[in-house]
Symmetry: C2
Subunit: 337 residues, 2 copies
DNA sequence: CTCCGGCAATAAACCGCTTTACCGAAGGCT
DNA sequence: AGCCTTCGGTAAAGCGGTTTATTGCCGGAG
């Protein structure tokens, strides 16, 4: 391991000169500069990142805390963030919280410990205040996709209510009036907003929504499965399901398939997220697209900006879009089954 | 930012005492220990990770270099690795190489720069020797899923040839004799082994394989799409396709669907990887399962072991398994179409 | 002949923690 | 009484860079 001092000795100058020359914080006469460059090359010198980080007080890295990186939605987000970060010379440390509050707290603590300069947090469940307190008004955090109420940090969300409206309107336009909702965890912002968007749209069309037809649970395949089973048993059976995440939809698809029910012939389904590969499902999933790549890019930009001390918007809302594929049946004019 | 020295002053002891006490490298009388603990608590002291890393000479982090983290196969691998690493107190830095050799080299350089202690590398394309030289016999690297020939580091691969044999035998058992192969990049170990497994199995069954029916290209959706189009145009058209990665299969499925060809009625398909969600495709994909979670866990274990200086096997082969779903038709007894 | 300014380069402090000695006092043994 | 241990702790040298303030020197202006 060759150090700065060795290069300096080799080039016959001081370590300071080498450091400043390499960081372009000094302009040396060509002869000296060449001697240094030559020594660097000959010894194969590479600055020790650990030392650099300590003396600069920057980790040159950010952390991305996701509920679960194996979820393609988060994986896609991670990809966008990593790519943007790499361009700016930052590393991305991954931290899957797996829905455990302790892991989310760990992420914030590691930020405090300077393991990284900033943190992009995708929360997974409603916060009881612990996380919010911890985040407080700390610098260097950005909340993505999901809220942690008490925290005073920049947020990047999508238009959840509009997405739910788009989905609901589509279903209504196709003749559905009895729609079940599979929502996310009670108390989670994105879940709430989607529920509200759904309810408001139903109301606007003079449709009643039965509380018993709105199921709350985690954004997991398992809960989607479970909820779909429950919905299939309802009587009369809803003609359509709005699932507030594609991961839920995946569970729904599996459950309905197991029951021998066809989507969309027996029951229609709209998802939310447009997660990668959703177009390949059986049937291709009609869903609300979140601009994943853009969310990631913007989250990173906001984070780095706030690290540089520039003021960033407290809240950014990104647009969503209805993607019509094959999971919704047109039942206009049909008799109620 | 409160430092060790401040805690020491507050507790009326030396920084050494605080450091050693906190790291349990000394046992102090209860009274002193309590004074230190109390000071730590009152000041809210947290050790600076940057300083710790420099003085210990360890980054407490490893890097996972994947071709593309948004690919569910790699995302799943990342999840397993992150989880195992977290248990051992290591952070995981993500680096998507996006198939660019420069990014792979970057990963190795960053390892040299001590950005992290170890590197799990999933190579993406045949190496011209550059990467191999760089990796050389360097400590702290493990190759996963894909080879870089010249390097003298531990490797964790699956039984590629056996997987290809299993897939081919299944196809043959279902009556297929004219099988097209969509292989990975020429010269990539996993691709080669799968091709060889396919050829050997065909030969063992007395079936001829036409070189023109074996297509080489990158492990991407795009190439899968392209290759499927080419295969559909062949005359006579093969009755089955063996795609050497599920990501390729995804492209195949899309292309055949666009052509109005049904899988498996018009053409059968077997994939490789059993990537997450493959069971939801239309049709559910028959494929060769790689034990993704185990691969990740073992890769991490091997890496950490080798960092600790313990000898690890130069090569580990993990078993694969045929997962029969719905993408292969039984055409035994059928007339050749 | 001095003084000043700018060039070339450096000494030394610092980032915050770890770790390797090493030291003084108290107690136990012979 | 003298010597050895153990206990309780510390001084100081790193780790490998960055950075601030400073120095010596030289040429030109006054």
């Amino acid at each position: 391991m060759v150090t700065l001092s060795e290069v300096a000795r080799e080039a016959g100058v001081s370590p300071t000169a080498v450091s400043r020359h390499l960081n372009r914080s000094i302009v040396l006469p060509k002869a000296t500069a060449d001697r240094i460059d030559e020594a660097v090359g000959r010894l194969g010198y590479r600055p020790n990142a650990l030392a650099k980080r300590l003396s600069k007080g920057k980790a040159e890295a950010i952390c991305l805390a996701t509920p679960e990186i194996s979820n393609p939605f988060f994986a896609e987000l991670a990809s966008a963030i990593e790519s943007a970060a790499a361009e700016r010379g930052y590393g991305v440390t991954l931290l899957s919280t797996r829905g455990r509050p302790a892991r989310e707290i760990e992420a914030v603590n590691q930020l405090a410990d300077r393991y990284f300069d900033g943190l992009i947090m995708i929360a997974a469940r409603p916060d009881d205040g612990t996380l919010g307190d911890l985040i407080g008004r700390r610098q260097g955090i950005v909340l993505l996709d999901e809220d942690v109420p008490a925290a005073r940090v920049p947020r990047i969300f999508v238009e959840n209510a509009i997405g739910a409206r788009l989905a609901t309107e589509h279903l209504i336009a196709m003749g559905h009036t009895d729609i079940a909702l599979i929502a996310g965890p009670m108390g989670l912002l994105s879940a709430n907003e989607r529920v509200e968007g759904f309810k408001a749209t139903m109301a606007a069309h003079g449709l009643r929504v039965d509380e018993a037809r709105m199921l709350h649970g985690e954004f997991t395949r398992e809960f989607g499965h479970e909820a779909a089973l429950a919905i299939a048993r309802m009587s009369p059976r809803p003609t359509a399901i709005l699932a507030c995440s594609d991961y839920l939809s995946v569970g729904v698809l599996g459950a309905l398939h197991d029951l021998g029910l066809s989507v969309p012939d027996d029951i229609s389904l709209v998802g939310f997220d447009d997660m990668p590969l959703a177009e390949l499902f059986d049937p291709p999933l009609t869903t609300i697209r979140q601009p994943i790549a853009e969310m990631g890019r913007i989250a990173l930009e906001r984070l780095l900006a706030s690290l540089d001390g520039v003021e960033v918007p407290a809240m950014t809302r990104l647009p969503v879009e209805l993607i019509v594929r094959k999971s919704v049946a047109d039942i206009r004019g049909n008799a109620r089954r």
